[in-house]
Symmetry: none
Subunit: 137 residues, 4 copies
């Protein structure tokens, strides 16, 4: 559970936590049913306020990724069902388009961009069907 937080980033800390937990789960470094550090543990590990961790956990629960059992703690859900929210997909497409625009202004070649995308997709998606390919990043 070593998360990389950047307090200077414009992305709120709680959202950085959300993102990185989601990444850890996809990479199977956090397994279904596994217990997350308690809010207090996490906050002292990351040197952030417990409320910030709490907000991150609540958001993850709202997204159907983790669950909290009263008095027990917080756990990764057994079955994380991808829900194909059309609005979110459209937002993602827009974000992707914007990234492409930015990459052009940064002088990034098309091939590089696609290569990166493929590499990230393999890195994560590999875990779903074949675990051995998840480490060849």
């Amino acid at each position: 559970m070593l998360l990389n937080l950047d307090p200077r980033s414009h992305i709120p800390i709680w959202e950085q936590v959300v993102n990185q937990v989601k990444e850890l789960i996809l990479k199977e470094l956090l397994l279904p049913g596994e217990k997350l550090p308690s809010v207090r543990e996490m906050s002292s590990m990351l040197l952030i306020n417990p409320n910030t961790v709490s907000k991150a956990y609540q958001e993850l629960e709202r997204q159907g990724i983790i669950e909290t059992l009263r008095g027990k703690g917080t756990f990764v859900l057994q079955s994380i069902v991808p829900k194909a929210d059309e609005q979110k997909i459209e937002a993602l497409r827009q974000a992707l388009k914007q990234l492409v625009i930015e990459s052009s202004y940064l002088g990034i070649e098309k091939e590089s961009f696609l290569k990166w995308a493929e590499s990230y997709l393999k890195e994560l998606g590999g875990g779903t069907d074949c675990a051995e390919s998840s480490s060849d990043s």
Copy 2:
């Protein structure tokens, strides 16, 4: 200069303006040397606060995309040189990675994601040989 602004979007309006101007330039709907509407014109066209337009123009100037000539107006720069800022590239890579993660939780297939990326890359890069001319800085 018909921009699509969404006041409900969580992306700041000034940033939406910046993004769409950059897109228009890439698509050659705004040509080098062309004059942009004045801050007042733009703000009344888009029904937004002049300060917002001003902030967008300042950001575009900061990024080396447009220039303001006092008393003359604001113009698209003749040569927009992609500056390969390593930090920005790394940030873009992170953003791309995050998009890939989100797409996984939305149940989007790898092929779809790559297809979209390719389509956007072609859409922009196709109109101009921006990639080849990116080294003549």
Copy 3:
């Protein structure tokens, strides 16, 4: 005494126990004078903490529904007298009102809501003439 507990529910487990015992009594699946499982038995049956069962029993006793005889065990009271606590009635009305509001936002038809209410009322009140016998306190 097969209770359906959901550790994921936001209703505290002790309260779920209280609710379901009250339901069993109304449905005459638990009869007046009948002995409840001991705290230990119940906790091992339900795989929950004995303290949780204990809290549920205390609450049921506080509500005048069961009684604990030292050394003998815990029993359903012979005569459960509905006590028309005005405050609780008002709270119930508020809760009902809130349910109606929620049902509206969920797009539930008035008829459906009333049908459900009637069905539940019949389900419970039908088995016993609780309403008529409610005045013999």
Copy 4:
């Protein structure tokens, strides 16, 4: 915008705000497009912390009932679409069942319970098609 908050209630204050705003909208005391008091105004009106109001507004936005425009304020959405979430409907049914059980222990007659339900349904639902019936509580 006179809300009745009960700090002693077990329902969190932010949730009480959410509930009552939803009620005001159903009763057409808050109209689509109307501006809600700012977070600061509301917090000073209700004598609660701005963060508490903020949490309530965020929840209302998450439920698709209001929207916030950056720097402008918070507004009731034009079209509030009831979304028939099956899980939430089932939870509502359970809550209704529980209310029926409670009403029995409080000695409430079936007819009273149904009468109340009908009255609340008419009070709110009346606003949808005929405004004149909304005041005959």
